[in-house]
Amino acid sequence: METLGRILLVEDDQKDVELTLEALEEYNLANEVVVAVDGEQALDYLYYRGKFMRRARENPAVLLLDLKLPKVNGLEVLQQIKSDENLKLIPVVVLTSSHEEKDMVASYKLGVNAYVVKPVDFHEFVNAIKELGVFWAVINEPPPGSVRKR
């Protein structure tokens, strides 16, 4: 996997990863994606720890974050990011299966930039992911210190 990408996808479910990549492929954004399978790995990536020790010193342009994650859950990752001076500028989009209002309120309180519930319908799902990818990785001007479009 490319260690330099504009999109950090934090998702433990391989099937979801596959469907997400499938959706992003249509805009050729799939190779921009870095996948972390749990919260711990996501933080390792952001803090250049473990296997991400030697990656380039740049932040992703956007972070797509699932909430239900092994080890460190999505809300904890979000809290860590938003309380770190160096990371808090990274746009974070929560991408979750849940309609739980509790999760949504907690996410917004922690400063999430967007909250998206994955639709069951594949077309809707693909559309949502595509729009997200295009908006955050292409249209949106990321904060300084982020990975730039190549």
């Binding site: 479910d13 099937k15 979801d16 469907l19 299966s97 309609h99 069951v120 319908d121 594949f122 077309h123």
Partner: protein, 634 residues
Amino acid sequence: MNPSRIDASESVAYESSRPLRLTHFQRYGLAVFSVSVALAAALFLQHFQFRDAAVPLLLFACAISSWYGKQGPAVLAVILSLMGFSYLFVSPIYSLRVAPSEFPYFVIFAAFTSLISWFATIRRRVDDDLRLIRDRLKVEVEERSSLLDLTHDSIFVRDMSSNITYWNRGAEEFYEWTPKEVTGKRSDELMSTIYPKSLEEIRAELLETNKWEGELTRTKADGTQVIVASRWSLRRNQQGHPVAILETSNDITVRKRREKEIQTLNHELATQARLLDQTHDSIFFRNVNGLITYWNRGAQELYGWSPEEAIGKRSHEFLRTIFPAAVEDIDRELLRTSVWEGELKHTKADGTEVVVASRWSLSRDDQGQPIVMETSNDITERRNREDEIRKLNQQLSNRAVELDASNKDLEAFAYSISHDLRAPLRHMAGFAELLCKSAAASLNEKSMHYVTMILEAANRMGSLIDDLLAFSRIGRAEAHNSLVRLEQLVQEAVSEVRQDGNERKIAWKIDPLPEWYGDRSMLRLALVNLISNAVKFTRTQPQAEIEIGCTEHKKDHVVLFVKDNGVGFDMKYSNKLFGVFQRLHAQEAFEGTGIGLATVQRIVHRHGGHVWAEGIVDGGATFYFSLNKSRGAN
């Protein structure tokens, strides 16, 4: 000694016989004078030829001299008489010599004069002795009467016609008349005496027994009325005739008043006791030793002991009192504040225990002894009920804790469903779609149909899960009440439903609706559900009519309805309308999860109302729901 005192003795006669007190000169002068007068008178009489007047005159002069002048003047008068007689009347005249022939006459004269003088002197001595004895007697009597004056009892004497003859100092002090003022007055008129019985009866008793005792009401000099205890004794003379009544009396006005007060108090006490008996509260008194002194009917009813059984018993032991605190502390508080209130346990006559709310108040009886009034009423039942309520409350809070726990479980369950169940569905749908896309060319129609079925099933499962979660969320979510403009809310719901629905011709009728307190988003959801139902089930009608209105609008109660002219329903299934997953139509005819109306019901229940429906098959349906302000307004 007060000279104005009245003597009991009859001494008035002696007063005038007291002789003149004369000096020596006067006494001897009297002798000379009287003899001279006698001689002069004799000479005067002789001159007018009266015979022998000299001797009696001289004897008279001697007698006067010896009576008033005593021995000395008497002797002088005798000597002067003899000399004057011999000089003037015995021959030889004008000489002191006495002729022998006259000698016997002269001696007899001398002897006679001496004899008269002697008699006068003796008489005089006797007289003096008598006076001395009388004086002594008087002193003695006065001493006795002064003894009577020492007593503060009033003593007076009256004769048989009630005239006062003696009045001691006690009487003066008490009745406030001086002896002078009362002497000779009729005692009963003076003091307006009121007798306890007729005076004749009293007199009869007095004459028979020589004494009488009784209580008299009298008026003093200053007009105040007094009550006296009076004792009379009758004095009789030697012949046994009644002569005087001695009356001793002492003032018992204050004592009588006390007696009367006590009588009044006793009467009041009896009245109070009767009143105390009227109450159903238990009231008893106990004295300083803790002994019961009074026991009312309420106490008898409560404890089952009669007053006869209870009075005289030590109350705490008798009732086997169980105190809420140390009895010493309770007594201390009672002494300090005169009042104590608390709950006690007592044991009744039949051995059962009662809990009483007891009030003790401390007062003092007429002897100043502390006395405690204990008023109690039976609160056993109340206490038992309170215990029961407490137990029920405990159970309730246990249940609440359990409920809370199961709610938490439910929440976790729902959370898990919304995450974990939806993901595989999404994957099924996603990969089926991908399969469809990549193998579209190689799949025949039948295979395509299967893929389509898989996709439909997944989508349906997805909406089932969504509805179910929404439904369970209503149960768990907190209501946020505010003033909601129902009419506006209905408009919003209608436009939301119309957005989703395809363009159909529907005649909407929205009546004026009030403002109401409630959770805006919940009420909106309920309305959306009902209105989308109406839209859905009027699909078969060429001209759909939907009306939203209000049938009842009271201060704390409102009933809304959503009425359509759709397919309606059979009233015998109306009980199934609001159950979860209950459906009255085939999925093919009218799609749906069977959760919409259950959700409506849940929302309405949370607003303290209820929901019901009326319908006819192919005749339309009306869904009513009520909202209560009491639940919604807080």
